[in-house]
Subunit: 401 residues, 2 copies
């Protein structure tokens, strides 16, 4: 058995992760409908005008604005209506003083008109239109290119595509987006004791949890998780698994990074590549390893489900989001007060799950082997390495799970 | 032309939405890997123990705890190691006083043992093990069922499946989850002036934006968006579109809910069903309609892309999440101070987009017809109907887009 010799701090570990996680350079084309959450791979410069023509911004009457200047609530200006212009139609009559055209929102402005009187400020009497309010030139219309002009850079490489940015691509008439491909992550459970859900447990066996928790984290944060069958936790099959899967951006082993005689991940990684760190001063989740084999990162995660998932949030997530060109996650948090005193190990950054009821944070953490430590929790608090005590009643920030 | 006669407040509109949006009752089975974000349709009660057996919580030596009581840093207790137990194996030797078994984390505890001494507190000399630290009975082991016991309700109907809750299902050995099916939303753009991105614009035409912005909102928040081709904005084709698609939970028309002569959505909905409201005191997005045809909700959204999307967030999102059994969205927000004074229309709830730079909120809103009002923004602020002014320097909460 090989106890961990020294731990690096969470901050150091995250710095190594940041250095090693190379943002994916390859790109792919996705339909706009599928583009939500994807990251744009290049600047998008418009070669069209949006709107493509001067258009009415209101339903009403296109006019020569000057004609309306003397209009008032009790002394309307009266204009002749010469045309009805619907959206999508081409106006045929050029306006001159004394005339107007009924126009719908979004319709092309007729030649000669320089403003629109809202329908609410008019009254129709056959083809004669009473105008009760003056407008200034340019009122209630949108000029060609007012939204987007040709040559304008509308979106930038690295923009995460939210609904409105997808809308901007649609406005340019672009049916798909060139985005960075998702980081491809392979999750490999190790150990004879692991069986897939749906199968029957033999004596001494437990179900595979970590592939599913980590897979959900990865799929939720811009990655693509593939699930590998359980691998025997010996050198040879683990080395083989790495060698056969170097097309992945990252291979994540769960189990096998602790200090038991069978915990061979360190030797495995040394055999085919380089160990970057092994052992982080966090609680739970200390025996975590990061290595590199050719261009593939190898993450060795503890087998315990709460440890594995907490490191999924603390270590895997920053690597994943950096590879995916996504900014650090903006967490959803609530503030709460500790319902009881909580001690923490000095020198270890603690990840501690809580339930939040009526603004009070109740401990939810049982032990790192228990998935209900996480699944019964509303969120978690983090206790920095140099803090060893949270008092009852102290205010904490709870990151929602 | 038919001006909107009266507006209902945002609060009233949301109350109607809440009443009318029935949570989906139908369920479906999804693989655990695909279950992220889905909502569990029934309570999950365990019929197994997790862990299924007493197991070692640390790498070390399984012992009779009483044997270690006199152990100390300088006077070890010496025990005979009689077996090596790996995870996944069945122990064969029953322990008695004076004996121990080397054991790996997660392995089945041997009969007779009631605790584990951590490897760090031992020294091996052949088959003789020096124990340097006493343990109490039960130390460093997890009892059968300690995480989850048979009969325990582990998850509840209505739980949104986050990574840890998916992990809890895996722990029970369940390979799939019974979840509520997603609300099915059909988005129908209307009007001759609309062309799909990728096509060529004719005179007076613009690209369809709203199907893509609303589609992204729907797909991001637990719904399934289907995109219908552009429909002519006349009674007959619109009525036909509704009648043919009553298997959807909601049909969303974009364009056609304003007051132009061609804006026929009100008449269309009256023809086949009931108008619940038409016109909300919000800015932008006033001419929004909610109706019901049989069991299908019909939402009439303004054609202007900023108006349409802001109502996508304010009106559509609460309906969607309620149908999907999802809790109201927890928004990601930042606090900022207004970089300039902003006036708002009294009596209208205003949705106003801003860019946030160095803690200052700069106006990003151009006009409701412009998609860049949204796509250039970092987020939006909401100004309640009874507020008509935000002063320069005033602190606001910005909801990130």
């Amino acid at each position: 058995m090989k106890p961990l010799k020294s731990l690096i701090s969470l901050e150091e570990a995250l710095e190594v992760c940041h250095q090693q996680a190379a943002p994916i350079e390859e790109t792919e084309e996705v339909d706009l409908v599928q583009a939500g959450g994807r990251v744009l791979a290049r600047d998008m410069t418009s070669n069209v005008s949006v709107p493509p023509f001067d258009r009415a911004a209101m339903d009403g009457y296109a006019v020569v604005a000057e004609d309306t200047f003397k209009a008032g609530k009790f002394n309307p200006v009266v204009l002749d209506c010469v045309e009805k212009i619907y959206a999508g139609q081409t106006p045929e009559v050029t306006l001159t003083s004394g005339r107007c055209s009924e126009i719908a929102t979004g319709a092309v402005m007729p030649e000669g008109a320089d403003g629109v009187v809202m329908v609410e400020d008019t009254e129709q009497e056959g083809d004669r239109i009473n105008i009760y309010k003056p407008i200034y030139p340019g009122e209630n219309l949108a000029r060609q290119g007012e939204d987007i002009s040709p040559g304008e850079t509308v979106l930038h490489a690295g923009d995460a595509l939210n609904p409105s940015k997808i809308g901007a691509l649609a406005a340019l008439g672009i049916p798909g987006a060139e985005v960075f491909r998702k980081p491809r992550m392979l999750i490999v459970p190790t150990g004879d004791e692991i069986t897939e859900p749906g199968g029957k447990l033999k004596e001494g066996q437990i179900y595979n949890i970590n592939s599913y928790t980590l897979g959900a984290v990865i799929n939720e944060h811009g990655g693509r998780a593939d699930l590998h069958p359980v691998v025997d936790d010996r050198m040879e099959p683990m080395v083989k698994t790495i060698r056969e899967n170097l097309s992945y951006d990252m291979i994540i082993f769960s189990g096998g990074s602790s200090v038991g005689t069978r915990d061979v991940i360190v030797d495995v990684v040394k055999e085919v590549g380089e160990v970057l760190f092994h052992g982080i001063a966090v609680k739970p989740g200390k025996p975590t390893l990061l290595g590199k084999v050719e261009n593939t990162l190898v993450l060795g995660m503890p087998g315990y489900p709460a440890s594995c998932l907490s490191n999924g949030y603390m270590i895997l997530l920053p690597i994943l989001r950096r590879m995916a060109h996504l900014p650090p996650v903006v967490e959803r948090t609530v503030r709460a007060t500790m319902e009881r005193r909580l001690t923490s190990t000095i020198g270890r950054h603690q990840f501690y799950t809580v339930r939040v009821v009526d603004g009070k944070a109740y401990p939810a953490f049982k032990e790192s082997g228990s998935i209900t430590s996480m699944s019964d929790a509303d969120g978690y608090i983090q206790i920095p390495a140099q803090v060893d005590l949270l008092e009852k009643g102290e205010e904490v920030e709870v990151v929602l799970l």
